[in-house]
Symmetry: C2
Subunit: 187 residues, 2 copies
């Protein structure tokens, strides 16, 4: 295992804090304290707090898709892939103690006050939806599904609803109920 470089440590620490506490509630001073570096070092690697925020979003997107690929790589059946995606989001909620989706959170906090952030989040969610659409199209090719795009959109919405609901309620029932419905939608 290579030694973690300073820049990577900063991103890791900042990401954890932005995610758990929120971006505005996380100060530069807290980041440098927990990363155990001086403030001059931080500003040597990042030009501003907003610059760190961009690095956070890039990292979270990479992690998301990496984790997703690991979750479905051994599965060939489209229907099982969808169920594995739901289980993946469920697992992310558990391991983060129901901290929610990073991209929903940052849009909720900053919104259109920072267009590059909201634009990034928009693109990220579009990629997630595209993943679902691809799988549903595989499924539709096998089973003559009536309207695969509508189906993909609604599976996406159900999962998003489950994530936000599980965040608010701090429990994961919603994912199981989504799985029940999705099993019905994908007979």
């Amino acid at each position: 295992m290579k030694k973690e470089k300073v820049r990577e440590r900063i991103i890791r620490v900042a990401s954890e804090l932005f995610y758990k506490q929120g971006y505005n509630s996380t100060g530069i001073n807290q980041i440098i304290a927990e990363a155990d570096i001086a403030i001059g070092s931080l500003y040597n690697h990042f030009s501003s707090k907003n610059d760190l925020l961009q690095a956070y979003l890039v990292k979270e997107e990479l992690d998301w898709f990496e984790g997703f690929e690991n979750s479905v790589s051994k599965i060939s059946e489209p229907k099982e892939k969808i169920l594995a995606l739901i289980d993946y989001r469920k697992k992310l909620q558990e391991t983060s103690k129901f901290a929610g989706c990073q991209f929903i959170k940052i849009v909720s906090e900053i919104g259109e006050g920072n267009p590059s952030v909201s634009g990034f989040a928009r693109q990220h969610k579009e990629k997630q939806k595209e993943v679902i659409r691809t799988i549903v199209n595989e499924y539709a090719a096998q089973t003559k599904q009536a309207d695969p795009d509508l189906l993909a959109e609604n599976i996406f919405l159900l999962i998003e609803g489950a994530v936000i609901t599980s965040t608010i309620n701090r429990e994961n029932n919603s994912f199981d109920q989504v799985k029940k419905l999705v099993r019905g939608l994908l007979p």
Copy 2:
């Protein structure tokens, strides 16, 4: 029309700012400037910024249910009530320029850092779900629905997903797709 009292004006101004900009991004100084009062007056009516936050949440909950009642009061068919609820959330998104759900936003921003806030949001969402459950049970009584609670849960999740997605994408397509699916689920 009675003259708006100072306390009401503070709550109105603060609510708009908390909703549009976020709670942490809204300063006391901005609130008193836009409400056109002195800071001493604000702290005469509210003991802290957190106290204002509580008043904001109470107000938004009242407004939500008042608006909902207005939207469905003239409708008797359960299925149409569900569709009217979806249209209500859609209209809220349009009139707020896709600012999203106040309760999802505040939980995303503050989370468990303020348990009384997250608890309030949790209860609010439970009330929304109860509304759906009541309507779906009416529907089930007429049509021998297999599992009305599962159906209600999934309609709730679809709507939450549509709200968050319409907020991120700044357009309302999701609600129309939810309506299509719900029409299928309520034959």
